[in-house]
Amino acid sequence: MSNWVEACAADEVEEEDVIRFDHEGRTFAIFRSPEDEYFATDGLCTHERVHLADGLVMDDVIECPKHNGRFNYKTGRGKGAPICVDLKTYPVRVEGGRVLIDLG
């Protein structure tokens, strides 16, 4: 079942960057790729509870600011130590300049 939620304005996220989105006690990360596409994942690193929105986006990779763990934010796949668990991703669409994510 879909549960589309408005996360932010599309232009709030710079290209090749990420912002944090909190909703009903949960936290998410909203990404904008260098190709101007939008993606969403859980907001906390799976290694330790650190907000990925403070990290560095490089192409399709987000690097956690605390231990430099890396994920492909498009697929959620962890890219080696210290990441042992992949990141949950969420469907995203952009409508009327707003970014929506499907929390299911």
């Binding site: 330790e48 509870r49 490089m58 605390k66 231990h67 430099n68 890396r70 130590a81 210290p82």
Partner: protein, 370 residues
């Protein structure tokens, strides 16, 4: 120096540094483990600029590092048997036994190079030179960043209280480090993962530890066999022994990182030390003299740390002006800690700094250190 110190003999506390000991459990119960640490506020745009990766500086520095090792090692080898080889081996040893410490560190963080495989290759080379299993030590360093100088949680506290001066002197020549590294390598090669290692290395990573230990053991056997076959110490002077005779610089810089400062606080400004250094030591140490800055923002590459220092210095204790100044405050603090484990140097924040967790900053027991 504007440090303050705390010296309260009536509250002396015996510390248990074991990763499965009483302090480990206490750190978890009290919320000191995996806590939220203080960070200086910086605009996102500026932070992104500081975090930006680049291959150029690390390629240049790695070429200088390995190139200099090649030159000094070759010259030392050609002059082997004469006293003229000594200065060349002294230089080679520092590049092998000390500069590889910072390369291990930076490439372990994955920040030195932009290209991941370059970080991985230099990380493996530097880990071998430092005799640090690249798997074990990646995870121990991860814990060091989560729980910096939290007693019972941080596996990389190099000066425990009370300080063990004999250990420090022996490690000026890498003696204890190499002894323990050799035991660990043999143990891991035999397929044995210790109970302590299991506290911070995930089970899925443990087979890799064992594989690396076996490969390294084979390399050391081959070097020793070559030395025996040639009837010469020269192969060991180039591989293995420099970890002993070249370790002194990494010990000195390593001590300054946290030595004599607070433990069990969640503010790197209080438990870490930044020190201004000469350019040669900064090259060997790859700018880790900006240690408060590194701990606060570990994703900033070494080459951007001077800029980070300028951006946040208003919020940090003043950096020590030299290595000598760091040792002049540290050694007396170590001596005091022999009598009183609770003694430490309390860093004073500038008026422009933002306080965090007042209980760590405004301890009413603080008195001037000097």
């Amino acid at each position: 120096m504007t440090n303050l110190s705390i010296d309260v003999p009536s509250t002396r506390t015996k510390r248990d540094y074991g990763l499965r000991g009483a302090n480990a459990a206490r750190a978890v119960e009290s919320g000191l483990a995996a806590a939220e640490w203080y960070h200086t506020d910086l605009p996102r745009k500026q932070m992104k600029e500081l975090m930006k990766r680049s291959d150029g500086p690390a390629i240049r520095d790695t070429a200088i590092w390995l190139g200099a090792m090649l030159v000094f090692g070759t010259a030392g080898g050609l002059l082997w048997g004469t006293w003229w080889c000594v200065p060349f081996f002294l230089a080679y040893g520092v590049l092998y036994g000390s500069a590889s410490d910072s390369r291990w560190h930076e490439c372990g963080h994955g920040t030195a190079f932009k290209t991941p495989w370059m970080n991985a290759v230099v990380y493996q080379i530097a880990s071998f030179m430092m005799m640090r299993n690249p798997v074990t030590w990646r995870w121990s360093h991860t814990r060091h960043h989560t729980d910096t100088v939290i007693v019972g949680r941080d596996p990389e506290i190099n000066v425990m209280r009370p300080p063990d001066f004999l250990r420090l002197v022996l490690n000026l020549f890498g003696i204890l480090d190499v002894w323990h590294a050799t035991l660990d390598m043999v143990r891991n090669a035999a397929g044995n993962v210790s109970a302590d290692e299991k506290t911070f290395v995930p089970e899925s990573e443990q087979p890799k530890m064992i594989l690396v230990a076996r490969i390294w053991l084979a390399i050391y056997f081959a070097v020793i066999a070559l030395a025996i076959a040639l009837g010469s110490w020269l192969p060991l002077m180039l591989v293995g022994l420099p970890r002993l005779y070249g370790a002194w610089h990494q010990l000195l810089t390593g001590l300054m990182q946290h030595g004599g400062l607070a433990d069990n606080v969640v503010d790197h400004r209080l438990n870490s030390r930044s020190v201004m250094m000469n350019p040669v030591s900064r090259f060997i140490y790859w700018n880790m003299n900006y240690h408060v800055e590194h701990h606060m923002f570990p994703m900033v590459p070494y080459h951007a740390l001077p800029k980070l220092h300028e951006a946040i210095r208003h919020d940090l204790p003043a950096a020590n002006p030299s290595m000598l100044s760091a040792f002049r405050e540290m050694i007396p603090a170590f001596v005091r800690q022999m009598r009183n484990e609770d003694y430490f140097l309390k860093r004073e924040l500038p008026a422009t700094a933002k306080p965090y967790r007042e209980e760590f900053h405004n301890d009413p027991r603080a008195v001037p250190a000097e």
